[in-house]
Symmetry: C2
Subunit: 394 residues, 2 copies
Amino acid sequence: MIRRRGLLAIAGATAGLAGLPAPPAGAQEVVEKRVFEAGSVQTRGGATIPKTRIGYQTMGELNAAGDNAVLICHFFSGNSHAFGRLAPGGSAGYWDAIIGPGKAIDTDRYFVVSADTLVNVNVPDANTVTTGPASINPDTGRPWGMGFPVVAMRDFVEVQKRLLDSLGVKRLALVAGPSNGGLQSIEWAAAYPDFVLRAMPVIAAEIDAWMQGWLDLWESPIRLDPNWREGDYYGQGREPPLRGLAEAWKIVTLQARDRIWARQFDRKLPEGQDPARRIADRFAIEKWLDDAAMARARTSDANSFLYMVRANQLFLNDYPSLAAAVAGAAPRWLVISSPTDRVFLQPGVEEFVAALRSAGKQVQTAEVTGPLGHLNGVVAMAPVAEQVRAFLAD
Amino acid sequence: MIRRRGLLAIAGATAGLAGLPAPPAGAQEVVEKRVFEAGSVQTRGGATIPKTRIGYQTMGELNAAGDNAVLICHFFSGNSHAFGRLAPGGSAGYWDAIIGPGKAIDTDRYFVVSADTLVNVNVPDANTVTTGPASINPDTGRPWGMGFPVVAMRDFVEVQKRLLDSLGVKRLALVAGPSNGGLQSIEWAAAYPDFVLRAMPVIAAEIDAWMQGWLDLWESPIRLDPNWREGDYYGQGREPPLRGLAEAWKIVTLQARDRIWARQFDRKLPEGQDPARRIADRFAIEKWLDDAAMARARTSDANSFLYMVRANQLFLNDYPSLAAAVAGAAPRWLVISSPTDRVFLQPGVEEFVAALRSAGKQVQTAEVTGPLGHLNGVVAMAPVAEQVRAFLAD
């Protein structure tokens, strides 16, 4: 079953998550992608982005008090498409299993918002609206490239806060998200403890030096690609650094999965390949990674990848320590982890939970399981749906 | 303590293991590096290497029966220098804590041999003798480059077998090694079950598709470096692909350690660096990895790295499955793992042990611990010395 899925998915690797099965079909809730003009933003690093815009989508209705809102934050390679379908018959959002009418995060009761981040990697995707290095710098009329200001995870939060303010939201009943979205949730809970009642970080924990190092390894192939040209590859006649970007996605793609997932490729060779005799030939796992990652590279932007890495590395950068960050954070937490996560290792999650408890927070935990390791927190949320529902009702 | 070590070690990253403390001083046993001319080798892939040579070192005396020999196999980036010192006052071999007169692997009783592998990465090191892509092809008088035949882990074993035969060894009381050396030990035990009495793979398990994929990620920066030139970078006026090779070593260097090791870099910045404001600036962990990996790149060869990756990917390639490989293997095993190993994950080690037990082997296990993750199996062996001694006496 798993075997067949993975192999079939090679051709379908252009969506947000390379080579994953589509969520199960359910109610076909259609959502509209909207654009929020966030205006001029002063970054945590002290720079100014004169004109910012991000995309977003909503489901449900905000109540009169403005306090039934839920914010969903997306993973590293994702966008606002966490729930519903952008068109009838279209693909469902990545957390559609737990968000919608009657679902764990019940849009009959909650007003659910999900936004694209700044420096979102999915620049070529018409359904992603972001401001980042591929955007036009209004002062020059040309793409920012590596002249775009460094943005931190906290800057993502600030732009989302403006969006929520513009929508009339007075309080978040929940902020949640997987991976990078979990980091945003933590950053939100630390930044706005009175605005956020509950936080649900999934497959996320602190970005310590170990993780900062890994994020650097993820991005380093981009900088090696001669087509990267220090980020100056936009414009006619220039080739983007697709090879480097694909190698970067390969690292993310493998590390975000678990060894159990890879079993389908054990001792398999692609047709015509003989790596025992020819040094340039490939094993099946390599071929799959090559194809999935190149497809992903064609739908993303290399400079934005670099900026997204940096935003992650700057997680909780306003605080001297994790303990300091969570000391005054929002009160109620549901921390969901995947025991086979090879990105956010389980001991790191346990330390994060311990830090919350030391700070006197109410903390529940849950686990997501399956062959996909880290990505269980994106695609295998259905089994924890009732725990999510109960947390939200608590 | 650990913090200080790691930071101090930056400058000393040119040796076999980037940034690791030197083994404790003990008896100053001096060993001699010798060269074995292995002659023409037919590879498992069907090619011929007309002239092969590898370096080796020994300690202790072979008995009349030729059955008190121990073979030590080295890790991915290592060489034969597992024990003793190559000159008085020189640095000790990586497993010197457990090999020597009176030590766990007692050279007063055993004749211990350790050899450089084929395609060893340490080409620029005068104390490494190997045959690989940087060697001269006698048919052309020029370096082989990527025309060198693919070699498998089993080819390493075959050349070592010739060396042992030349030394008069009739039976191995033990074959052992860490990481890549553990893989060689397993390959040895499968290939020569009557010649090998005991095997002690340390921080090693099966190379499944997951690991094949990781090995590909390790090497991919080399292929991206424009100086690689499809491997044709030898000779005057050509720059080797140092940047790509350094990025490759960065992945190995971080993955071979654990997050606990990285704590020394938490929330630290190198002098003058401000990554929250400047996209090109670095965090402390990045700077350390940059420096350690570039130092390592200067003492290694990129093409050899690619061939070493392939040899690892071809682990047990002669067998249809792990179960088939171990079915007829040597009888006695001590499998030593590091619970925080991020290269060979603990579940993979457990599956390997289960495969041995299913095949009816006598299996003991032990664990090495410490902040270094995978590398505990190289530098933290002293605490398991008595278990090694008892295994060898059993």
